[in-house]
Symmetry: C2
DNA sequence: AACATTTAAATCGCGCACGATTAAATCACT
DNA sequence: AGTGATTTAATCGTGCGCGATTTAAATGTT
């Protein structure tokens, strides 16, 4: 066991905990999402559209923190599964609106139980979870050095 | 703005914060890792090997929480870049040992500055970061329902 | 010894992520 | 009007993640 560089010990690395926890939670979602033939990133995009239908790809990207190189293929899959339609803005042909189909809208009620199902799977008290979320959101405003 | 299901509001979703923060942090690593021609998951595997050289694929997988379907190609890339070698156990040919090369060992010192560089990029006090890590590690022991 | 079971790694297929580039439309400015 | 810059989405290539399967080796059981 090398200890020349204790700062490189995996157990000391917050970032690894973050990376592992994120994948762990995504795995916990899977049994529920699989029932609706959804992946977690697809579910995120639907959460965004359920809040406000008819958004531009750009705006969805800003909300989900994903660029078109990820979103375009993902939206095509949602379209193929009959959950959304895409339509170019006739005013500005560069832009592309994404609309929920009836099926996509109906899915909202069916997914409404998912957050509480997820909550049931942890023993961490809600106050702690809120605290955790706040800390994570703080991390997001972390500056890129030299930016 | 739909509010039939406030529990589906993205802003209320801890899991999205987790997902977004994890990708954000990985992006922050990239400028430093790129200098050594490494990806973040490759860096994780090296952290593990720097702590204990000559591990089995299975043990690396347990530590990194990755299975062979992810690790095998990743290790092949590390091997091709001259950082590790892989060698079947002659006692038990099913198993495969992974060893650091000299170049792989030398990389440890070069990477020793990375954790402090990362710390510099956040304004969150260290105590808060430790708290964050503890909460994340608690999430990891979350049971899979029905398991 | 013969055969079923288990284990470890590799393989396969699909869907992200994301840097980089491209293509087309719009904007800004002269 | 003409042209360079900007914006938006799409495309391309690479590397994860991971469920599912396969292959081969080792182990257990009769």
């Amino acid at each position: 066991m090398s200890d020349k560089h204790p700062e490189l010990n995996l157990d000391n690395q917050l970032c690894f905990s973050l990376y592992a926890a994120s994948r762990h939670i995504t795995r916990l979602y899977q049994p529920m999402l699989k029932q609706h033939n959804l992946t977690y990133p697809q579910y995120i995009v639907l959460l965004i559209l359920w809040q406000k239908d008819g958004m531009l790809v750009k705006d969805i990207g800003e909300r989900a923190q994903l660029k078109s190189n990820t979103l375009t293929p993902l939206l095509k899959r949602l379209e193929q599964n009959g959950l959304v339609t895409r339509q170019r803005d006739s005013e500005d042909e560069r832009q592309c609106y994404v609309y929920l189909t009836e099926q996509g809208k109906n899915l909202e009620s069916l997914c409404a139980c998912i957050p509480s199902q997820m909550l049931k799977q942890t023993e961490i008290p809600v106050e702690k979870l809120i605290e955790l979320k706040q800390l994570l959101d703080q991390l997001m405003v972390t500056e890129v050095h030299g930016k």
